[in-house]
Subunit: 325 residues, 2 copies
């Protein structure tokens, strides 16, 4: 099923059930007032939401509204826990080769970045940042949302906690990223607010494309209306099962925890392109000794979308514009 | 005023107003159901809570309960945004000297660590971790809690957003810390759940000891009932004004954001001791070539407390025990 959060002026908005074709929606506040309330009470809420979803898809609900992706916030407008992985090692390998970096990695330990969850942007919100000199960049990613995960959860049990998936653009400020990476304590100015697609979906919406704790679909990325890349999720070097098990070694994860893939990146990047500017610039640097693709300027637009096997948009699109803060 | 969160089986508990002497409390659910609700609506809630607090201290409230610090959760059982600083450079300097580390620092940029907020422990909760080989350590710290902070807030305006202060123990797993520091992406296994003192207090409770965006009081640390250290907060190299301004350069901070000082650390550590094991071990290593103070074992207890000028406990005490997960 597909769920969204209608803006209503409150911090957490109102829960909507959205039809599979993303054309219609209906209010689900009688089941759970917000997305966070739904995930905290998923065992009770999910079957009820699914009945509404089925009836909505069958055209049996009279009080439908037109689904307007401009009227929604991020599915979770805020979250108590957000960790982003960097699970496509191909991306890191390209970056290290271009810039002669040596990241001390362990092939059994995923790179994970603790992130803030208090301010997630909706799919069509203008994205404000204070200076073009910050070298603004995007990263096309997918996230999972978990119910309560006990401390010590093993990989074999981890995927049972994945209740929803979301599309997101992990905006990154590269000027600050290299400095903060060198300090070693993680990212602050390098990773401001994150931008999410219109709907969160249950894994069954992906059919066979959700397998081995990975999303086997292309992530379509466009910059100013032009194709930028469409890497596939199947090349994740660490599955979500691996990632969840690693994190929960010595912490429990609260319901509504968001965990991201890291920027999509494929070995055949010559054909499928990239999902972030930094990677394309690194590829240019390796090939030609310098990067020619510029970082983002005010007024530029970005679009991210993922289509299922039938061509249906899974999450709806992120389509947003960079603006002066 | 002093506020706490009574456990009631729900995720966010119930808001209590607590008397200055920490002996009595009364329910404040008619003003705000939870601490998070109070901070999101602080302008309306704070004057009402203060009236209750004043009457409670004057013995004018009939429906008082005995304040039991064993019955409370962390003041904020969870938070959407938690950043810990490392604002006492003395601590880092000792660590670097002992272990020949070179952290790429900029004297104008505070070290900041993005942290998770979905699972804060109460002051007397047993602390479970999976292995003594993780080299468990504590860090005695103070945190501020903010109301909504706009993007681009300047240092001159930052302290007006500080609404509450809290005492906390930033539990740290040193085996993982050195590895994760080397990777550069921040901490995951090195920094599991954080432990908070019984009450959150407004800055006026500190009197003159809240000055220049710093807490000019000693933080008393005991290990298994024995004195371990009592460093003072006045030596913070970055004030909370500096820290908040730095963070909000390109992000807004949601109401309920928690920002920590980093482990208290003073230049006269020979007299006042330390607030974490790693620092004492580093001092031993510098003096004798090796550390003799062991990391935490199961069954050990830790106590953290801060007294005001009159000898009154400001936040109540954290007093908890290490246990096998």
């Amino acid at each position: 099923m597909k769920l969204a959060t209608l803006r209503d002026g409150s911090r957490d908005g109102q829960l909507l059930v959205v039809s599979r074709d993303l054309r219609h929606a209906c209010h689900a506040g009688d089941i759970a007032p917000t997305m966070q309330a739904a995930i905290e009470n998923w065992e009770q809420a999910a079957p009820q939401l699914r009945r509404v979803y089925d009836r909505l898809n069958e055209g049996q609900i009279s009080s439908v509204i037109v689904f307007d992706p401009h009227a929604v916030a991020a599915p979770f407008p805020r979250a108590y826990q957000f960790i982003d992985a960097s699970a496509f090692l191909n991306h890191g390998n390209i970056m290290e080769r271009a810039y002669n970096l040596t990241v001390k990695k362990d092939k059994n330990i995923p790179i994970l970045i603790q992130r803030q969850g208090d301010d997630f942007y909706g799919p069509h919100d203008d994205y404000p940042f204070p200076s073009e000199a910050d070298n603004a960049d995007f990263e096309g990613e997918i996230a999972v949302v978990l119910d309560d995960v006990p401390q010590g959860t093993q990989a074999a049990d981890a995927l049972g906690h994945v209740k929803l998936l979301m599309l997101f653009n992990d905006m990154s400020m590269r000027t600050h990223l290299f400095r903060e990476l060198g300090m070693g304590f993680g990212f602050i100015l390098a990773k401001p607010a994150t931008v999410f697609g219109p709907v969160a979906v249950t894994a069954d919406e992906l059919g066979d494309a959700w397998a081995d704790g990975r999303i086997h679909l292309d992530l379509q990325v466009h910059r100013n209306g032009e194709w930028f890349g469409n890497p596939n999720g199947r090349e994740m070097d660490f599955s979500f099962a691996d990632i969840i098990a690693h994190i929960s070694y010595n912490r429990k994860l609260g319901a509504g925890t968001v965990i991201g893939t890291g920027t999509f990146s494929n070995k055949n990047y010559q054909e499928v392109g990239s999902a972030c500017l930094a990677e394309r610039r690194a590829i240019e640097t390796i090939a030609n000794g310098e990067a020619k693709t510029p970082f983002l300027r005010y007024g530029e637009t970005l679009r991210f979308e993922m289509l299922d096997a039938s061509g249906q948009s899974v999450f709806g699109a992120i389509d947003h514009r960079m603006v002066q803060a």
